[in-house]
Subunit: 289 residues, 2 copies
């Protein structure tokens, strides 16, 4: 049983893990890979690095720093969080138990470069079938995605309507995914999302498709998806936390880009420190009960 399971190994996650470990807590940090920051080549504005550094260098240093201080680090992909008496974090390989969980998985909002996409977020464009599917019962729904996560969302949406179109936005569709789709399937790249007050249609080079709602289910589940599934509030696709970085679910904390604010490395690292201090205090209240 860990005191804290930190999901994410970037500036927020590793910074938190470092502080938590120094409080002599039992800390597990789960990271899928080096994350978005790991793909960034030039960082000039993180204080105390004279020369330009790569995001990969920073993330690797942070992980090594956490490990040196005693944090257990595993490279696994988290596929679910459950909250009974304690937390159970499921990865593709293992299950881990923790008294608290810190979500620090970075910017949660997947971005697709299609005209009209940003404009219609919250006005027909949704990131969560469980949250918004009900709004579109018996209506025309589009789902954008090409992998397992899209199938999960599709499964949820089938409860609400039969009129569903799956858009791969030009991405390849693995055979085992394609076999699961009984709906209309559009594999052309999207050109534009159109509407008036709300989304009305999806335009490709060759066609137009009427939709009332459009669900984005690209890639793997985001931090938000996990948060939402165990009842944490989100707003504008960011996880909502209080001044102690705790969500509305007791013991579930979040830090870094996934809670919004300034989307900068130094702010995420600072978030991690703040969250760690709050988690340490929270764990002490558990002991006295």
């Amino acid at each position: 049983m860990y005191d804290v399971i930190v999901i994410g190994g970037g500036p927020a996650g590793a910074s938190a893990a470092i502080y938590l470990q120094r409080f002599r807590l039992k800390v597990l940090m789960i990271m899928k890979d080096l994350g978005t920051l790991g793909k960034t080549n030039h960082i000039d504005n993180y204080w105390a690095f004279e020369n330009t550094v790569s995001g990969q260098h920073l993330v690797e240093q942070g992980v090594a720093q956490a490990e040196r201080l005693g944090v257990t680090v595993v490279e696994e992909e988290v596929i679910g969080i459950e909250n009974f008496e304690d937390y159970v974090v499921k990865t593709t390989k293992n299950e881990y138990q923790g008294k608290t969980v810190l979500i620090a998985t970075g910017q949660a909002k997947p971005n697709i470069k299609v005209k009209g996409f940003k404009e219609y977020i919250g006005r027909g464009v949704s990131f969560c079938a469980i949250c918004d599917g009900f709004i579109y019962r018996n209506k025309k729904i589009g789902v954008i995605g090409n992998a397992e996560f899209m199938l999960e969302e599709l499964e949820v949406l089938r409860n609400f309507t039969k009129d569903i179109t799956v858009f791969t936005n030009g991405l390849g569709l693995p055979l085992h995914i394609e076999e699961e789709i009984t709906e209309k399937l559009v594999t052309e790249p999207l050109c534009e999302i159109q509407g008036d007050e709300v989304v009305k249609k999806v335009v490709t080079e060759e066609n137009e498709y009427e939709v009332d709602g459009l669900f984005i289910a690209i890639g793997t589940p985001s931090s938000n998806d996990f948060a939402l599934r165990i009842g944490a509030f989100t707003e504008n696709n960011y996880i909502v936390v209080d001044e102690n970085h705790m969500t509305n679910v007791p013991g579930l904390f979040a830090a870094g880009d996934c809670i919004g604010g300034l989307l900068q490395v130094v702010k995420a690292a600072s978030d991690g420190a703040h969250a760690a201090i709050a988690i340490n205090k929270y764990l002490k209240t558990l002991k006295t009960v």
Copy 2:
């Protein structure tokens, strides 16, 4: 004329200067020395440094980073800030003009290791003659200090009462300072500050001295002293800022330990980034007027 004059070269100041410079602003950073952090040997919890680093290393890297990006850095001691149409920052050597000023001079609260000191802060122990002197008119006042700044505070306090005792707390008193003191002078080290609800007396090894108020004027003027002198609000000896890191004085910003909150390197660096973004926005509003 600088767009921004940053006072302080630690994590908050240098981080802000780095961001400001990248906004293509004209930035001057004034630092007296490597500051409190520069005297710290072991930093383990600033994200992305695998091994323990010294505070000196971090501060020097941050300054070099700021200089590499184009920030003008001078090592001078600031002795005053004035606010007319623009800001004038006076150092022991020069005067600089700026459209805005960022105070990032670190923890403002001087600390003396005397029993009872912390207990009576705000209950008779004060850090600002201009702020609190009036409370003690015609009462017994003690002033702790041994240098120019103590004389400045003494000068202010003489307006309120004649019953003043100067305590050097065992520190050496330069002759040119001693010559200016016409008050009672106690050079023994202090043992304890005593009282009930409020301060009542200062105890040394050999004697006890009754006081109604005790002013701390050790070392050089702190960030707070500057802030107060141009009308910025402070609370519990921290500079009060809004969500944009601006004080109540337009164009005067503050970041890092001097505004309180978590007194950690990463938080100060994050403050700097936030303040820089706010200053950049503020400067744009000036242009449109």
